[in-house]
Symmetry: C2
């Protein structure tokens, strides 16, 4: 059984403003919740009797409502609800620019699509990139669609929202700042260090003018064969993946 | 003005069954329609007066309704409608297995998410892969979400639905069939030919058992650093991108 107030509360967490007020977010599905539960404070669980039965240690630790499939459908943000939904506490990670001097990090400059952001977090996790710096104009990491697309990657990747130009200006001048541009240099013939920032821009407009000026290494993913007429660009998550794979191939 | 019947007709094209009956599909937005119009027969356009004004040559050639923003919102499959929606005729491409002997092609073995399929078509276009072979269990290329995600790539990439095991068995035995598996060999140390099939599997289950048996080269995209705990896998479109980029880097 789940109360009307609880249903209202969960629905309200679809909105960024409300998520911020409540300092909370929703995640769904056994696998994702299993990944997040050690990393984020769990505030509430709604699950089917079946999941609760298989996860006794969790149901004894956290506030839980056992719900029917129909009730789960009512509260879920998914087309196909997956046995369990949980509410977690948001948390902010602290950082110092020294992280970027020593490690390869990603900067997100206005990526709007929540699914794209979540997919980037998932692949960052795969490639051992532990810090992502997002401009405030970027999608919210706690959007339900982002959370689901991370597939648990957000348990291991720290996301920081900040003023990107200010962050980049605070770095020592020898810290590389990579960005992709249609007139950049072929990534396969460029020197790549396993540290610094890889800047990824907005889906339509690319990297903002202010950040573009601060990029030290302009890269380009060549299409094939060179000169053939093709799509104008790659999806931002796809481009991020190809770039990260190329950095790590040489790592 | 747009008639109620027309609205009903457009809405009905969200369903695969109806799209098949009508042999038609919907695409939206000036850029996408501009890319498709030379490659697919245009059956109908609904556009704002503004778009119609800028595209006189099209409005004189194809049946068109001028619609208000509100009418467009009513017929659109997008959260943010984009000035114009068009209905195109589906078309089937013919092919011979000889294409695969000579060119690098992709096989889609049960990819379910329409956005993933569309994103794969877009990146195939970028990497000059002109033929994609989909199992019948895969998402429909004419799903509105797939069409939008191709960003026009479907104008240049031919999609064939077929029996994949049968197709692979019909290839000469020296045609390479690549697939990714968690226990495959590091893609960066494998020999890769610029021909044959790259098989990509279902989002959850991967490559089907029947197709897996026919794969001649089992590949793996290494995570970084090796042995670190990470996400279990990469999104299927992301993995496709990294694989295609690696093939073409050496091309």
């Amino acid at each position: 059984m789940i109360s009307k107030n609880k249903i209202k509360y969960i629905h309200s967490l679809e909105l960024k403003k409300k998520r911020k007020e409540e300092n909370a977010f929703v995640a769904e599905g056994p696998k994702l919740i299993d990944e997040l539960i050690g990393h984020f404070e769990c505030l509430y669980i709604a699950s089917t009797a079946e999941w609760a039965e298989e996860n006794r240690e969790l149901t004894e630790t956290y506030p839980i409502d056992i719900v029917t499939e129909e009730e789960l459908r009512k509260i879920s943000f998914l087309d196909t609800p997956q046995k369990v939904l949980a509410v977690f506490r948001q948390h902010e990670h602290s950082f110092t620019p020294a992280i970027i001097e020593k490690n390869l990090c990603i900067a997100i400059d206005g990526v709007q699509n929540p699914g794209n952001l979540g997919t980037i977090i998932r692949l960052a996790d795969w490639f051992g990139i532990e810090h992502i710096f997002c401009s405030k104009s970027s999608a919210d990491i706690y959007n339900p669609k982002t959370v689901q697309a991370t597939m648990g990657g957000m348990a291991r990747v720290c996301i920081h929202y900040c003023d990107l130009p200010e962050l980049i200006r605070s770095l020592p001048s020898d810290t590389p700042v990579y960005g992709t541009f249609l007139d950049g240099d072929n990534i396969y013939s460029e020197q790549l260090e396993q540290r610094g920032l890889i800047v990824m821009g907005n889906e339509g407009r690319g990297v903002s003018a202010e950040v573009a000026e601060l990029v030290t290494n302009r890269l380009y993913i060549p299409n094939y064969p060179a000169g053939r007429q093709t799509s104008e660009s790659l999806n931002v998550a796809i481009a991020t993946a190809i770039i990260c794979a190329e950095f790590r191939r040489r790592g």
